[in-house]
């Protein structure tokens, strides 16, 4: 959408922020009205964070800020100054998928993949709080995100598999 920039003072309408994104800290000059989601995609260049509804309903843009899953379409980039941001790009290490991503793949938890990064970030934050032992807990954990093609059964299976393997590791250690 074309936006009339004539009102904008190029200096006053921007602020410097310092953020840590997937472990790497950097300073950016951001337009104050820029959403965190657009900042991550267009200024940082991490396109794994997707924008669906842009009003907080779909969850596709979910990222983790200071250990909490949030909608990046409902924050301005300028508000993230000083915080630590995790996006889906931070999950795989050297091209090796994280165990949760592996479970998603093994259980056919995605089809088109548009919503997947949001689901993954919501679940990563949730699994840090504790294991997900039952289908009903899994569905609760999924409830803040929307998938419009595959449905949720594969994701429920992936979560339970993942949680069981974490439990198994803990019990065996």
């Amino acid at each position: 959408m074309a936006v009339d920039e004539s009102r904008a003072d190029p200096v006053e309408d921007k602020s410097w922020i310092s953020v840590t994104i997937n472990g790497s800290k950097q300073d950016y000059l951001v337009e104050q009205r820029l959403s965190l989601a657009d900042f991550i995609r267009n200024q940082v260049g991490l396109k794994g964070t997707h924008l669906g509804c842009e009003h907080g309903s779909c969850g596709a843009c979910t990222v983790i800020i200071d250990d909490r899953a949030v909608r990046s379409c409902l924050m301005f980039a300028v508000q993230s100054d000083g915080s630590s941001i995790e996006t889906v790009e931070g999950l795989a290490i050297d091209g090796v998928l994280s165990p949760l991503q592996e479970s998603f793949q093994a259980n056919h938890a995605l089809q088109c993949g548009f919503c997947t990064s949001g689901f993954l970030m919501s679940l990563v934050a949730r699994l840090r709080e504790g294991p997900i032992d039952t289908e009903s807990e899994a569905r609760e954990a999924l409830s803040g995100n929307i998938c419009r093609c595959t449905g949720y059964s594969g994701m429920v299976a992936a979560i339970l598999e993942q949680s069981n393997s974490i439990q198994g590791i803990k019990e065996n250690s």
Partner: protein, 294 residues
Amino acid sequence: MKSAPFKYYVPSEIDEALELLYQLGDEAKILAGGQSLVPMLNYRLLSPANLLDINRVSELKRYSLTDEGLKIGAGVRQREIELSPEIELAFPVLHQALTNVAHVQIRNRGTICGSLAHADSAAELPSVMVALGAQMVIRSGVGVRAVKAEEFFKFHLTSDLEPAEILTEVHVPKLPAKTVGAFEEVTRRKGDFALVGAALLGQWDANGQIQNCRIVCSGVAPVPLRLRFAEDIVNGTDLSDQVLVNVQQSVMDSLDPTEDIHTSSHYRKIVTGVVVRRGLSRLVDQRGAANGSR
């Protein structure tokens, strides 16, 4: 779908915020959690010339639970209150209501006071605060005033706040001993605004009768609606099945709820009766427990 340009202010002190607000007046919107405001900015339903971000005002980011009750500052996230075991123990009805507010990703950013100031008549927190007899602490450049929750909500999306005022804190008074409570709602999908919600409080007396019952519904009127006629029916009774049937019928006969895109007035009336009956049943479930320590 991007917000229109705005001038961004990020004060670090409450006095600085109030001074800015006084200067900017109704040309400014206060940004706290942003979970209601930012969608409206993205849709350009609102395009304020100035945004006053209060997230860096450390004084507003505190809450405290004392013998007097619970005080929650305007910067406190809903999720912080939800996760406090002490608050869950002292105000179970508030905890239950919070778990019904949108989704965890929203509650991680959304604030308690922001939801109250937004004054959505379908939201959970306004009705639960009316039931709890909470006080809104409102500050401006010229002073502080307190307003009862019951008088704070004026209309859908309209509160008692003036343009130069900030809802800086909400005070929830300590509940009387042996108080029981329940929060019930019916939604079409998990996390949606409820078609109807109900916050209920009361105390079981030594004779096994409910006293001082408060029943406050969301979604049925432009403000949280206290069902005094239903309270009159149940107070002094044992909430027997017959009483519950009578209340449910009375609610359906008496109300003329809002009709909107989500449902008809007729259906909402039926749902209100059901939600109130379910809430009262939950108070019955707690009759034994209430004769314990609290």
